[in-house]
Symmetry: C2
Subunit: 403 residues, 2 copies
């Protein structure tokens, strides 16, 4: 696998564009992604019972297994908008399909932004029309910018692998920021590839990879109405079909995991108001499931997050979060350490506190990237979760998001 | 039932005291509560797998069904302190028992404060000795002050009922502030009564009442290692024994529920950094359990809490939190309204947004006490949960709690 610079237009046969269509005050707010041929597709969607209209539409497209295009807008989530919201999502798909010469059933529609406000369909349709002629193989960056909401930077990743002598490329873009939590929170992620792969294989790979990447990050514990992760594979690399259980599968999955993992971590780094990036490793847990639950509980705890904001080596709050996580573990066996570029401190051994230098701890925790490791000494389950600190800015950003 | 001014020393036969024993810099930090006779007792404890040493000790006392005294300290939680922590809790109980002329097995020990620091037993033992001669029937207020940590005010409540011509009194005190969450978070609550009641009846009543009171509040979603709610009933009112299924039981339970509910709401009002008090009512849910889950999810959501900080009528976040709560409900049937002393606005009808005046909404939400009502139109389940907003001060207080 080779990491390359790029995004959704890095694989062969994908064009994209991003513009300001007037849904937001000044920033880019609409994107169009088009494959030059029908693509095999897979999707993972929010588990929230309140699903935005475009999510309901997209679930149908993903089930059909074939897609050509994606239209994305920021500024309005088209959520809690009733029957009209569903009609608006369908109309958006139809407008894009007409231009691209395909059926509306092959066009995904994704929306992010404020909840409960009807879509301004005049702007949306004018946006689709304005985007189409701008579609370009260099448009990935503009599209990545257009899908952002409170994100402070665009999120892209790409990688190449050789499959039986053919170069296969995977690219992706995502938006995150608020409401990022395990089980897909307001997060939109789009992955493109020119690989030849079946719908079933792609859907399976997406499901397992999302478990270890997007479902292991948290910004504030809320799960949104719009979370969506879509993959389009248009087969233009001409490789032999990637089949489960082969070396080619493993190689491709590694690159796929790299792209999704990188996007997930970029989302966490850019969590609303985030000042620090926290990686929580749980090792030697009873089971992998327990490890996952433990790691997620720690990065989701407001008290742990506030302690990191204050560069406070408050290991007690970490043990406490593990304690209420619901995972099976024995607190009296746990070792706990903090590390960063400035070194490592061991704070707990077999469930009991170790003496450590508060100055050294402060030095380590003042860094921007901190790793916490909990060794459960019970089995071989391991998991990593990523989060950020809880800051004044998070409160400010979310205190008056609608105005 | 008559509401009276008072606390743990309001019922006959209870004395208390509170002093500064040197665990905290200047504020009162130790309390002693003594019944003049053996009392029937019941307790509910944290569900966290990481239990502080005194919790483990107290579970034994509660199981025995008989208690005489409670020693409480703030400033140090005696949690994650290993075997020494257990010995320290036992030694504290023994010191108090020796003075009170009882067995250590009848003395509860409760601690709250920082995690992972060994107890300063010299100060604790000196504190117990200093407290004993100060025990008084007017000492409830001092005790209530001594158990506080980041609380900004003491929390007390009391009520009287007539049972078969005898006056029965119930009093209580609590400490809360950070880490308050359903299923008992760093919360200590002590309830005294002079009622004649059996251990089994008292334990049952405590369990069901805690479900509707302390387990329906949230400050930040973390569940602590030390949460404890204890009841002592010393029988000095001389009433006929309170038995389940009688009018006397119902009357007593009403007063008991008033005391616990009042303490729970006081804890929420004093949540770390809280500026607003939020009451979330769910009505006509499929089941009472669904109603509970829905109400708790809303008051636990960081995004909802931040919206209340900004006086933002962001009903979409409320529906969204209900959506990921895990409860069974149909979003397309829900009505949602906000109200306060300034009036009411209906924002959602059958899952779809209603137009409303933003000025009117702001006026309502600028109040300090806000009620949100969600009508699920599906059954007869109802529940109420209490929470507070998420503020800059919460982040400040928790960013550097240890120093």
């Amino acid at each position: 696998m080779e990491i390359i610079k790029g995004g959704v237009t890095s694989p062969a046969g994908f064009k994209a564009a991003g513009i300001h269509a007037g849904l937001k005050k000044a920033k880019k707010d609409m994107a169009f992604l088009l494959s030059s041929a029908d693509a095999v597709t897979a999707g993972v969607f929010t588990t929230n019972k309140v699903k935005a209209a475009p999510v309901i539409w997209d679930q149908g497209v993903a089930l059909s297994g074939i897609a050509r295009a994606v239209v994305i807008n920021s500024g309005n989530a088209n959520a809690c908008t009733g029957r009209q919201g569903l009609l608006d999502a369908e109309e958006t798909a139809a407008a894009a399909a007409a231009l691209a010469g395909t059926e509306k059933g092959k066009v995904y529609v994704c929306s992010t932004g404020v909840i409960g406000v009807p879509m301004d369909m005049d702007k949306i349709k004018a946006g689709v029309s304005a985007l189409y002629p701008l579609l370009s193989e260099d448009g990935g960056e503009d599209a990545a910018a257009a899908i952002c909401t409170t994100d402070t930077f665009s999120k892209e990743a790409a990688a190449e692998v050789m499959i039986g002598g053919k170069k296969v490329t995977i690219g992706g873009m995502a938006k995150g920021s608020g409401m990022i939590h395990p089980n897909m929170a307001t997060m939109l992620a789009f992955v493109t590839t020119d690989a030849v792969i079946s719908h079933g294989t792609l859907q399976k790979m997406l499901g397992t990879t999302v478990e270890d990447t997007f479902n292991m990050i948290s910004v504030d514990g809320d799960t949104s109405t719009n979370d969506t992760c879509l993959v389009l594979a248009n087969g233009m690399a001409g490789n032999e079909e990637i089949v489960f259980g082969t070396e080619a599968y493993d190689e491709f999955e590694k690159a796929f995991r790299y792209v999704l993992g990188t996007l997930a971590k970029l989302i966490t780094r850019d969590g609303e108001g985030a000042g620090r990036f926290i990686e929580m490793n749980v090792v030697n847990a009873l089971t992998e499931k327990d490890a996952r639950i433990l790691a997620r509980a720690v990065i989701s705890s407001s008290l742990v997050k506030a302690a990191f904001f204050g560069s406070d080596a408050n290991w007690g709050r970490i043990l406490c979060a593990m304690g209420y996580s619901g995972a099976d573990f024995d607190p009296s066996l746990v070792d706990l350490s903090f590390s960063s570029a400035k070194g490592t401190i061991e704070t707990v051994k077999a469930g009991e506190p170790l003496p450590f230098s508060e100055e050294k701890a402060k030095e380590i925790l003042l860094e921007k990237e901190i790793t916490v490791t909990a060794d459960c000494h019970q089995g071989s389950g391991r998991a990593t979760a990523w989060g950020c600190d809880l800051t004044y800015d998070y409160v400010r950003i979310n205190g008056d998001y609608r105005s």
